[in-house]
Symmetry: C2
Subunit: 112 residues, 2 copies
Amino acid sequence: MIARSTKGNPCPVGILMDILSGPWTLYILWILSTAGPTRFGELKRRVEGISTKMLTERLRMLEQEGMIFRHYEPTVPPQVTYGLTERGQELIVILDQLNTLAERWYGSSTPQ
Amino acid sequence: MIARSTKGNPCPVGILMDILSGPWTLYILWILSTAGPTRFGELKRRVEGISTKMLTERLRMLEQEGMIFRHYEPTVPPQVTYGLTERGQELIVILDQLNTLAERWYGSSTPQ
DNA sequence: CCGTATCCTGTCGGATACTG
DNA sequence: CAGTATCCGACAGGATACGG
């Protein structure tokens, strides 16, 4: 991915922001945080409006970055479950603070 | 701007992320945080590689969002100085935490 | 059920030239 | 010095169809 936040400048928070700033990314993390481990289809339903392509793309990326895990159950039909890793949960803690700030500034509306 | 993070879903942290996730945005905030109030030309020099268009665009946006202030001094030639508002500084506090996390994950490299 | 592959369009953002 | 105006190519990402 292209470094959006800092255009490739090697700044740690920039790297992290480039990960989080992708479309739908926060949305996905938020759902995994509130709903716990979730299957692909369920995610697609919850993240309203996302395309299959985008969802898989975001999930692959988040997995590679160590934010989420992917559990594949080779049943018929197969079941794939995604959830937050420890790293992902650490992240959520701080995002929560950011959210608190944001609520103060923009008002508190909870995503359903 | 289009809501990237949550694709228009009214989530406070999403709104905030959509602001911060724009290209160069963090970079600019970071410089204003470390260097204090800075003039346009100086900013353009420090944010290496940014185009005039992008810089003004980002600055206008950040100003509108209340993150930075713009001080115009009508001398000849005119001097325009940008700096963090109180809101901007509140933000930096949390970004700092995010940075701490990021340094632990990606190693600490300081942007010059 | 959980994806991959392909096509196609809209927009982002760089380059460039010009002003008060 | 501190911007605005305009043009234009690249690519992100939606729609669609198909596969294990």
